[in-house]
């Protein structure tokens, strides 16, 4: 079985001083457990 997530996440515009882009914190082939972060962004 497989789960596919598709989602919108924050991306900073070119003129922003502090980038708030969403970044994945995983690698392909990683084992991940429920509750662990897939990605983060800055507020």
């Amino acid at each position: 079985s497989t789960v596919v997530l598709v989602f919108q996440a924050p991306v900073s515009s070119a003129n922003e001083r502090m980038p708030s882009d969403f970044k994945f914190c995983i690698e392909r082939g990683d084992r991940i457990r429920m509750g662990e972060a897939l990605g983060r962004w800055h507020d």
Binding site: S1, T2, V3, V4, L5, V6, F7, Q8, A9, P10, V11, F22, F24, I26, E27, R28, G29, D30, R31, I32, R33, M34, G35, E36, A37, L38, G39, R40, W41, H42, D43
Partner: protein, 373 residues
């Protein structure tokens, strides 16, 4: 076969040595050899198949470590799969795994399962004796605190235990996700043509979608018979591009993994779509050899909104784990017997009430589970 020949020759020798009235005794001795012989033969065959699978997995792993990408390569065995009654097989497997075991047998069966598929039994919420069947054990809950939820408010968590297959940002025209190198499928085919996927009109689709990747559009032009058999939803490439900031992540659950699905963020589920497709296996080999695997298989899609915009989660079934249970909608039944021959029915859709708000889910809430068969 050598083993069986030896068993048969030893049985024949026993029959000759016995002679006359003793021949009957010799024959019964031969039969008594045959049953354990067949069992040993079966065990050896299963062992050899398992060893070969481990060897193949190791080779794939080594190739991946070297940075070699798996490539799409259809083969005859994969084509043969499409003629098998996989739904019936899946349902029969579900029936077999629902059989209740006697209490004394349960720990042995589940320990064997855990050894074969690397499950951590210490995490199971209940003592092993309390899981009446393998099916019940398979969707076991976990002990309190086994899966702490990341408390960072600016993070999106994994909804399941599994292996990350793909992730990234959807940028290309048609919003394609790569199945393996050389073949991609479109997100709108996966989620449904009526999905609220944030897209913008794209005029240069021909230039942008062409190139080295053999996408679905190319394949449909080359293979008219595949088009005629495929469901309408996988035929056309979308003439739109995804909006900036649209991401995806594909996570594969092995048979030994915890098989419940949780909410990745706080969000409102507005729509549920059920695609009653096929039930191909979803292993690595199938990914390399079966076209549109995720788009063809039976799946449940939840779509909604979260604080940053669009959110969709697709739970895709396989032959062994064919039915998807939704805790937010207990009346939904998947992996039903199929009445029609062609797999071209539109998805069954339900809009969650109250309209506009849907069902509110908190980060980490249980959403559903994958069941055996």
């Amino acid at each position: 076969s050598t083993f069986f020949r030896k068993v048969q020759s030893s049985a024949a020798r026993a029959s000759i040595n016995g002679g006359g009235g003793g021949g009957r005794r010799g024959s019964s001795q031969g039969n008594s050899f045959f049953v354990p012989g067949a069992t040993v033969g079966t065990v050896l065959m299963l062992g050899a198949l398992h060893a070969r699978r481990l060897y193949d997995d190791k080779k794939i792993e080594e190739a991946r470590e070297k940075g070699i990408e798996l490539e799409f390569h259809p083969d005859v065995k994969a084509t043969f799969l499409s003629f098998l009654p996989l739904r019936t097989i899946s349902r029969f497997w579900g029936f077999l795994t629902s059989v209740e075991y006697p209490i004394w047998l349960r720990p042995h069966v589940y320990n064997a399962w855990a050894r074969a598929f690397h499950s951590n039994l210490e995490e199971a919420a209940l003592p092993l004796e309390e899981y009446a069947s393998l099916r019940h054990f398979f969707v076991r809950t976990l002990k309190e605190g086994c899966r702490p939820i990341d408390s960072d408010p600016c993070c999106l968590i994994s909804p399941v235990d599994g292996t990350v297959l793909r992730f990234g940002e959807l940028k290309e025209a048609g919003a394609m996700i790569e199945q393996v190198k050389g073949f991609s499928y479109s997100v709108s085919s996966l989620l449904g043509a009526k999905s609220f996927l944030p897209m913008t009109a794209c005029e240069n689709i021909q230039q942008e979608s062409g190139g080295e990747d053999k996408s679905m559009g190319d394949e449909t032009q080359k293979s008219w018979w595949r088009v005629s058999l495929a469901s309408p939803k996988v035929r056309a490439i979308s003439p739109e591009s995804p909006m900036k900031g649209l991401f995806y992540c594909v996570i594969y659950l092995k048979p030994g993994d915890y098989h419940r699905i949780h909410s990745p963020v706080d969000w409102n589920v507005l729509v549920r779509r059920h695609f009653s497709g096929r039930l191909y296996p979803l292993n690595e080999r199938a990914m390399r050899t079966i076209r549109n695997l995720y788009v063809e298989n039976e799946r449940v899609v939840l779509e909604g909104q979260w604080q940053e915009g669009y959110m969709a989660m697709a739970a895709i079934g396989a032959t062994n784990i064919g039915s998807i249970e939704l805790f937010v909608e207990p009346t939904l039944h998947t992996n039903r017997p199929r009445k029609k021959l062609l797999h071209s029915e539109p998805p069954e859709e339900r809009v969650y009430e109250p309209e506009g708000n849907g069902i509110m889910l908190k980060k980490g809430d249980e959403v559903g589970a994958f069941n055996m068969g």
